[in-house]
Symmetry: C2
Subunit: 165 residues, 2 copies
DNA sequence: CTGTTAACGTTATAATATAACACTATGTCG
DNA sequence: CGACATAGTGTTATATTATAACGTTAACAG
């Protein structure tokens, strides 16, 4: 049996992230093996950068991180974007459209889109996994065949609401 | 009594768009009057460009359109972005994050975010107005104070599904 | 008018993303 | 093994989207 995925909203709760990180990387490795795909070192490198936190990162932040760790090579944007493209395609990461940023997936494997809560105070982002019935029903009524959905809710997280008062 | 707004999914149905356009522009004018805001000629110009269709347009497409219509001035990006910012703020248009594009709002006034169906075949975009209970419930459970929500569903519209088979 | 502010115009530049093409690693088959 | 096909990588240049900064003009209140 494969390891358990993270519960919704993990980023907003204290947890043993070291463990979380290891688990997600191992799930990714396994998933690529099952699908007969190559999680090359570049791809893993980019995934690991994103797995280091539950924060979203811009492509150029990732690029900078790559260039920091790997001395004496100068890595260029296409390398990052290609790795991101692969990881997106396999549902190992997500793109946050409203931030032009990328974030590691909290429960890899689902390719159909996720939902995010984005705190505009602390910039933390939590991935949910809600079945989005109301919307899908409406789409269905109009005969629309859903492919991918982007749901990004901006606001203030519980923690930050306390600190404002 | 103010004029009726468009029903959900208007862009996917045949309708008298000339009328639709006039109505939305008049609603916008009225709404700005009520709010004591200036719908200046630049702002109206940009709104009219977006009202010309129910299609999303990139900022630079709008810019090109401005430069086409107004001979002998060369308009620059900030002008467009500022008009867009105003229109967004008043809920007269929306930003489609996953397309980096802007679209006229089908029922102006609601500032809290909308839902879109985006056909990847014909590029048409329909605005819905669904109360998004499942998501808001989950956000509520986590104590998250919602501010703005982005919902963009990509797929194939009913019409395009026919033409594929 | 005259001071105050909002909107506009202009220039330059930042931030994000991709096209195009050459090179290298990986695996297949004779 | 060695030739081939293909997927992945590296490199350069450039496209696309968006904003900073600052001066000018228009609108409006006193
Ligand atoms: Zn974690
Ligand atoms: Zn927060
Ligand atoms: Zn219409
Ligand atoms: Zn369509």
């Amino acid at each position: 049996m494969s390891p358990k995925t993270q519960s919704p909203g993990i980023a907003f709760r204290k947890h043993d992230h070291r463990r979380c990180q290891r688990q997600l990387l191992s799930e990714a490795t396994q998933l690529c093996a099952e699908r007969n795909l190559r999680l090359t070192s570049r791809r893993r490198q980019v995934l690991e950068i994103l797995l280091a936190s539950h924060q979203p990162m811009g492509a150029y932040d990732i690029l900078a991180e790559l260039n920091r760790s790997s001395r004496n090579e100068q890595i260029a944007p296409p390398i990052v974007y290609r790795a991101l493209e692969f990881l997106l395609g396999e549902g190992l990461i997500h793109r946050i459209e409203s931030l032009n940023a990328f974030i590691s997936c909290a429960h890899p494997g689902h390719r159909c889109g996720a939902q995010f809560l984005i705190c505009r105070d602390c910039d933390q982002v939590a991935e949910l996994e809600v079945s989005d019935n109301d919307l899908l029903a409406e789409a269905g009524d109009l005969g629309f065949a859903v492919d991918h959905s982007v749901v990004e809710i901006t606001g203030v997280c519980a923690e930050c609401q306390k600190h404002v008062g």
